[in-house]
């Protein structure tokens, strides 16, 4: 056996045997139980705040709801400990999901205040209600219903040492659930929501679903901790769950590093240890809260990565000293997790736990919608409509076998770089009528208040085409684009995608039909590697649900393997092998554009919508990107709609061009005819038709 395995096994035995060790005193067992209970709450907060980016200042209240529900179940219904656990979990998950509904509407700072108000309401109303807490302001359960005469006769839950094992087992289950989640489709969707909600919906991720899921999951785990606390202490008073307790839990998580499960456990043990120390040393009496919060402030100001980052740094240091042992361990863990995988994606927990994590959560200030006074009823109606409309069939783009690239089916000796592959073999059918329509936007009008941004514009994109939508600044291009993608609701007009009416569908459901997109301001997930960014885009292919992810069932593992293979294929196709393990932060802009395009490709959407892909690129990079688009079209038959400022690029690659100006369609046609069209030239250059810029347009 390897020395590391022995050390881990010995450590585990020590942890399990802790309450029976000769020098351990009863108060230490009590605090060890507390540490476990803290850790479960902390992990629930790591999932919600660290992973999904939703701040909660109400976790103390969720724990309290779990504890008091346990009391009611035991007292009034005679349901003893292990049996009441699932009920408590469901109840607190439900309450948390209700609060999550608020998170659908507000974000960041506002959500923090919403949870704060919830905690305040819970203090003032919920935890003073006799129906919940019981008369006399305290909930208690008798030993009998949790003890040896009840559910499991040979197991005495009122024994602290026995209960230590229960807490430990629950904690281990919680940790494994969190780890499974982290490596699954659901976990990636969580990270995507935190990284960029915009990009998440464009990849088919349902924000409503995943935000509510995160709240329910987190609240459910907090409820479990409350259940354990109640069963452990056998009595609970509202003081134990008041607002400052929520701050205490947040302190644990921040000190632990916010996104790190290991850090959360370490911080829980640390805080429970402080409990013990402050209990023993009388001089320190009464300073525990102060020291706790002081520690929080210290970590925040001095080392925002917290214990999680400290641990990661220490691991790296040890790895360097011991000649890369940890590197080998890491490789082994990777290969074991996804057997048969192409296996070069690196250990994702390692990749993301090193940096100061707090820095990576962006909280956007609330943006108000212009001219939006519709109120809650119309919103509610939209929500219902969204759910009622049936999801149209999904279209999938076939990706080519890498061996046959560039040759229309004749195998090459080895896969080539797309930069060197000629795309001359691709011929688009001459007549436009011979191509199937993919996208029809009919008579789209978009008004903001009294302002008409897009006025009765129709456009059509047909199979395998590259269609350009151009126009001067402020012409309404982006509004039109957003109306097609589902970000703006058109005032009138219809959007048909693959022959199906999609006007009523929200963004993520249009994405699920097979519409991929990229953004003018690149929307990659900053805390993920290139590989992981692409992996998020497999969301729509993976039919497994969250329960399978929590348990990592064989079906979930199979899907995970398939997803990784797909991503690897796209990485080879686009030629991103060398950067696949790098974090996207710090990559050159031209590469980021390619990564974002690759991510859209992973969705295997037959229609790609590109928002100003050449903006921010120099001429050489633009040419390279244009060649990549032509190459992908030639190899996969993907259909592309792009809006662009760079007239040179659009006219060089498009098969058909629409020009809009001041919200109206100015011209449409083949690139050559557009370049000659005097109204187009006038719109771009003002009224004067002479001189240099016109020449530039003509030469392009």
């Amino acid at each position: 056996m390897k020395p590391r395995t022995v050390a881990v096994a010995a450590g585990f035995v020590l942890v399990v045997a802790f309450p029976w060790l000769p020098f351990v005193e009863p108060s230490q067992v009590i605090n060890a139980n507390l540490a476990g209970e803290y850790a479960i709450v902390a992990i629930s907060l790591v999932i919600l705040t660290g992973w999904v980016g939703q701040i909660s200042l109400a976790h103390g209240a969720f724990v309290g709801i779990g504890a008091f529900t346990t009391g009611i179940l035991a007292r009034n219904f005679g349901i003893p400990f292990p049996a009441n656990l699932p009920i408590v979990m469901v109840v607190s998950a439900g309450v948390a999901a209700l609060l999550g509904v608020i998170a659908l509407r507000v974000r960041g700072l506002y959500l923090a205040v919403a949870t704060l108000i919830f905690a305040w309401m819970a203090d003032a109303w919920l935890f003073t209600s006799t129906w919940l807490v019981g008369s006399g302001g305290a909930s208690s359960i008798q030993n009998k219903v949790i003890g040896r005469e009840a559910a499991i006769p040979s197991f005495d839950f009122s024994n602290k040492r026995t209960f230590y094992l229960v807490v430990l087992a629950t904690l281990i289950a919680t940790v494994s659930i969190a780890r499974n989640l982290r490596e699954s489709k659901t976990g990636r969707a969580f990270f995507a929501v935190r990284g960029s909600e915009m990009a998440a919906v464009s990849l088919g991720i349902d924000l409503t679903r995943y935000k509510l899921l995160a709240f329910a999951l987190s609240g459910g785990l907090a409820g479990v901790a409350g259940n354990l606390l109640m069963t452990d202490l056998r009595t609970a008073t509202p003081v134990a769950f008041q607002f400052t307790v929520s701050l205490f839990y947040l302190s644990i998580v921040v000190v632990g590093g916010l996104t790190s499960v290991g850090g959360a456990i370490a911080a829980s043990v640390l805080f429970a240890g402080l409990n013990e120390v402050f209990f023993r040393v009388t001089a320190l009496n009464g300073w525990l809260d102060f020291v706790t919060v002081g520690l929080l402030l210290l970590v925040l100001l001095v080392y925002p990565g917290g214990l999680g980052a400290l641990g990661a740094a220490a691991r790296d240091q040890i790895g360097r000293l011991s000649g890369g042992v940890s590197e080998r361990v890491r490789a082994w863990r990777t290969s074991r997790r996804t057997p048969g995988d192409v296996g070069d994606e690196g250990d994702s927990t390692q990749a993301t736990s090193g940096a100061p994590e707090l820095a990576e959560i962006e909280v956007e200030p609330l943006a108000e919608e212009p001219g939006d006074g519709l109120g809650v009823f119309s919103r509610f109606r939209t929500l219902i409509q969204d759910r009622r409309v049936r999801q149209p069939e999904r279209r999938v783009l076939e990706l080519p076998d890498l061996e046959t690239l560039g040759t229309s089916g004749i195998p090459e000796p080895e896969p080539l770089d797309w930069r060197e592959i000629s795309i001359d073999h691709f011929k688009l059918p001459k007549s436009r009528a011979a191509r199937e329509p993919v996208l029809n936007a009919e008579h789209i009008t978009v008004q903001f208040g009294g302002l008409t941004a897009v006025d009765d514009v129709s456009l059509e994109v047909r199979e395998h085409e590259i269609v350009g939508l151009i126009g001067p600044n402020g012409a309404g291009k982006t509004t039109m684009f957003n109306a097609i993608a589902g970000l703006n609701e058109p005032t009138s007009g219809r959007v048909q995608i693959f022959g199906t009416d999609a006007t009523e569908l929200p963004v993520h459901r249009r994405a699920q039909m097979g519409v991929g997109r990229t953004f003018q301001l690149i929307q990659l997930f900053p805390q993920l590697t290139v590989f992981e960014n692409l992996l998020v885009a497999t969301h729509g292919h993976n039919p497994t649900g969250v329960l399978r992810h929590l348990l990592m069932t064989p079906a979930a593992v199979d899907e995970e393997r398939a997803s990784r293979l797909l991503v690897h294929k796209v990485i080879e196709l686009v030629g991103l092998e060398e950067i696949s393990d790098q974090s996207v932060t710090g990559l050159p802009f031209g590469l980021l554009r390619q990564v974002e395009l690759a991510r859209a490709l992973v969705t295997q959407s037959p229609l790609l919508m590109l928002d100003e892909p050449a903006s921010g690129l120099d001429n050489a990079e633009t040419d390279e990107f244009a060649h990549l688009l032509r190459f992908l079209r030639a190899e996969t038959g993907v259909t592309i709609l792009l809006i662009e400022h760079d007239v040179r690029m659009v006219t060089s690659i498009s098969d058909y061009i629409y020009v809009i100006n001041r919200g109206q369609l100015l011209a449409e046609g083949q690139p050559a005819s557009i370049q000659r069209n005097p109204t187009v030239v006038a719109a771009y250059l003002g009224q004067s038709l002479d001189s240099q810029p016109k020449a530039a347009l003509a030469h392009a």
């Binding site: 608020i102 507000v106 109303w125 701050l247 925040l300």
Partner: protein, 297 residues
């Protein structure tokens, strides 16, 4: 019916000190949000702590000097929070800033609880101890004083923002830090000023509220939460809106307990306000995606 109405009126009159305190807190919250784009969750502690200082100093130096000292200390506290926590964490992330203010809140509550304990204390009055009969209840002069002072202060700040260069500079740097610094305004200076004003206001509200009710580390700190609701009601960046919001919230707190059996329950006003806040947030909140998009056109 008539007795119900008179109950309502009495309750409204009795909540005037709360309206005054909420106004001062909500104004501070708005100042800080405009200057730093941070919701200052430490605001409650910035009200509570000076209230305790007033309590501690009043015995030694008398009520009026103690009140002045405590309010000044509150201003200093605001500046310290901005300098030490909020500004340093600006480069980290807005989340870190929020957590930072939470930490300050916890720190001050813990300190107050350690020094003065968690049993409610009653502070000496700032205004003379005269009370008036309103229906079956007594209204202290201190409560009226609190309300009047808050109105004067609110009016003063609205005038300051509207009519002075300083107000213009503060509004400009709140709107666009970079642009206003190019215009020769030092945004750090206006930010500190905003926190100073907010700290003074919070302390004034805390001292007066503490003097007309009780001192308690949590309860006094959490009295700021209705002010958050008030600021939200007013639109969070709007000084006048914060004042109107405080009236609405104060009236809600006054009226709810008269609404029959349900309203008399402990915590019913808090429940009502929480529901109100959630409804406002749901209506005001940006549609999830649209906030991220360039607004088109």
């Amino acid at each position: 019916m008539l007795s119900f109405l008179s109950d309502v009126v009495v309750n409204i009159v009795l909540t005037t000190p709360l309206v005054g305190a909420y106004t001062m807190f909500a104004l501070g919250i708005v100042f800080i949000y405009r200057a730093s784009k941070v919701l200052n969750l430490a605001h409650g502690a910035m009200a509570m702590f000076p209230a305790y200082l007033f309590f501690a100093l009043a015995g030694a130096v008398g009520a009026y000097p103690a009140a002045v000292l405590a309010v000044l200390a509150g201003g200093a506290l605001g500046v310290i929070v901005e300098r030490v926590v909020v500004r340093r964490l600006r480069s980290v992330s807005p989340t870190a800033q929020v957590v930072g203010t939470v930490a300050v809140l916890g720190l001050l509550i813990a300190l107050a609880a350690r020094v003065w304990g968690t049993t409610p204390l009653s502070a000496p009055s700032v205004f003379p101890e005269v009370s008036y009969r309103v229906g079956d209840a007594q209204l202290q002069l201190g409560s009226i004083g609190l309300f009047v002072v808050s109105l004067l202060v609110a009016g003063g700040f609205i005038a300051l923002f509207r009519f002075t260069d300083l107000g213009l500079a503060m509004r400009a740097s709140a709107d666009n830090r970079t642009a206003s610094s190019l215009m020769g305004i030092d945004p750090d200076r206006t930010t500190v000023l905003a926190w100073l004003f907010a700290g003074l206001l919070a302390a004034l509200g805390g001292v007066l509220l503490g003097a007309s009710t009780n001192l308690h580390p949590f309860i006094l700190s959490l009295q700021v939460l209705p002010a958050f609701v008030a600021a939200l009601l007013g639109g969070l960046e709007n000084v006048k809106g914060a004042v109107y919001g405080s009236f609405v919230v104060g009236l809600a707190v006054g009226i709810v307990p008269t609404l029959g059996h349900w309203g008399e329950r402990v915590g019913a006003p808090q429940l009502a306000l929480a529901v109100l806040a959630f409804v406002i947030m749901s209506l005001r909140g940006a549609k999830v995606v649209a906030g991220d998009v360039r607004s088109g056109l």
